[in-house]
Amino acid sequence: MKNIIEILKGIINIIKQLLKDPIGRIGFIGVFIIVLLSIFAPKIAPYDITEMFTKSKLVSPNGEFIFGTDNFGRDVFSRIIYGAKVSLQVGIISVGISATFGYIFGIVAGYFEGVVDSIIMRFMDVLFAFPSILLALFIVSVLGPSLGNTMIAIGIVNTPVFTRTVRASVISVKSMEYITSAKSIGLKPINIILKHITPNILAPFTVQATLALSGAILTEASLSFLGLGIQPPDPSWGSMLSESRKYMERAPWLAIAPAVFIICTILSFNILGDSLRDVLDPKLKL
């Protein structure tokens, strides 16, 4: 219980520091809005996302449809809101996958070194040798395009980055004398990893996770843009943007709304990641 309070205090403290900096504030508020949008999507969206107003196809933004309607007469605003939910869902779950595997692989490789390290890292080198979007594309095309497979593909693609980050931080923390000190006191390896190494790599890990979240959202949008990510009728900003290209001149709002939302979301996460790095890892601040 005492620990949980400590952790909460820590988080509040970090948020306070984030909000001190005007740029950090923008990132934090941006991410906050996206999160609110996706949590309360059903409450916020004025219409059902599949409901087709056949009489009002390709209507430009007005009081009734604030972002207009698409070629089936569906409300763009509602689809954008649900799109936020999908993006965030894919982002969080796929980062969860890569962070978990990355943490385990990185800790094992960094702490135990030797053969285990070589095997894990050579494997990561292999995954790293593919341009990331291409690997995601390849995996999705093999597994078949769907929401779940998109998450798995993005999760796999991001694992090497996490593994490398974790491993590098473990190695640098391991060289600190307090680890030697923990060993010389007689701590078991598992306690050294959990009590001494993990808390000290949390900062770069969190920063990496935030930045990976923006990367995952970007990759999802790209896959969906190519028709290989989220499948219709589920709304995804990427596929909405792709669809819009057919009606470019007649209905430019179809392109602008998803494009602006994609850009703002990724931008917010990147700003948040940068500010978090400044707060958590002041050494890296330049």
Binding site: V126, F130, I133, V142, S222, F225, L226, A259, I262, L267
Partner: protein, 314 residues
């Protein structure tokens, strides 16, 4: 130095084997099997049997892998399911187009990013720095397809400009070729310049914080010498690594851009093959792109040993 290079090349072998194995194994994950895709909905046992023999699917897995690799090493990537054409020559001719696009994009990104990154570092904490940093952040945040779509939208609505349709090779008609290529290159290059800008800035700042900069100032050096001779020479070394990764990223990034701008490059070939479930082509192209990526990184690492005298002693 030589031993370092040889070691670096030898280290490639397991990575390349790993890559090919990885691709091969992922291909086995295809639900159902390859032929079902080819046959479509109509199940035709006779045709199926023919295909099984043609593609060697009756062989055990390890043998199929070894056969595939041996053929690849001979330059034989097999034939397409759809067109029955040889894959390798097609791949090479398309690679030329993608290569041209990549180089143009990379040049555009360096021309934008490196000077801006340096200026930003030197004018740290001023409004110039803030603006450059924001542009860089946009660069890493805007997906290239979003930028491409918005750019096309803007050009068509504002200027009624439409990029020419129908690809023309550079040596057929350089002017038309460049007209076709310039927009996608701008899209890729601008997006890519974000990360280069950030890296340049932080790298130059990092060097300026080093102790030896004080020594150089203490010798009586002008700011010009400090920055252009010492800070830049040292600061640009890590950027070389980034350029390697960048070219890899570009090879992947062209998939979408080529699709949007209808450029018949390698990316488009992969995408078409994926959509048509033309697996030999997918398999071949992915292997080829990964190989190119690995080679680019090798060249970068070797280049490193020439710019950084410390490297051979590691």
């Amino acid at each position: 130095m030589r031993s370092y290079i040889i070691r670096r090349i030898l280290m490639l072998i397991p990575v390349l084997i790993g890559i090919s194995l990885c691709i091969f194994l992922i291909m086995q994950l295809i639900p159902g099997d390859v032929i079902s895709g080819l046959l479509g909905i109509e199940e035709n046992p006779e045709l199926r049997a023919q295909y099984v023999i043609k593609f060697g699917l009756d062989q055990p897995l390890p043998k199929r892998y070894i056969d595939w690799i041996t053929n690849v090493l001979k330059g034989d990537f097999g034939t397409s399911f759809r067109t029955d054409k040889e894959i390798f020559p097609e791949m090479m001719s398309r690679f030329k187009i993608t290569f041209q696009l990549t180089i143009m994009a990379a040049m555009i990104s360096w021309i934008i990013a490196i000077p801006l990154g340096i200026i930003s570092a030197l004018k740290r904490n001023t409004w110039v720095d803030a603006v450059v940093r924001f542009i860089a952040l946009l660069g890493v945040s805007v997906p290239n397809f979003a930028f491409a779509t918005l750019l096309i939208l803007f050009l068509s609505l504002k200027f009624q400009y439409y990029p020419p349709v129908g690809y023309v090779g550079f040596f057929e008609n350089a002017k038309v070729n460049l007209q076709i290529m310039i927009l996608p290159a701008i899209v890729l290059g601008t997006i890519m310049s974000g990360s280069v800008m950030r890296m340049t800035r932080s790298s130059v700042l990092e060097v300026l914080r080093q102790d030896f900069i004080k020594t150089i100032r203490a010798k009586g050096a002008s700011e010009r010498v400090v920055i252009f001779v010492h800070a830049l020479r040292n600061g640009l070394i890590p950027i070389i690594t980034l350029i390697g990764m960048q070219i890899g990223g570009l090879l992947g990034g062209t998939v979408i851009t080529e699709q949007i701008f209808s450029i018949p490059g390698l990316g488009q070939m992969v995408l078409t093959a994926i959509n048509q479930r033309d697996y030999p082509v997918v398999q071949g192209c992915i292997l080829f792109i990964a190989f190119i990526y690995v080679m680019v990184n090798l060249i970068v690492d070797i280049l490193y040993t020439y710019v950084d005298p410390r490297i051979t002693y590691k």
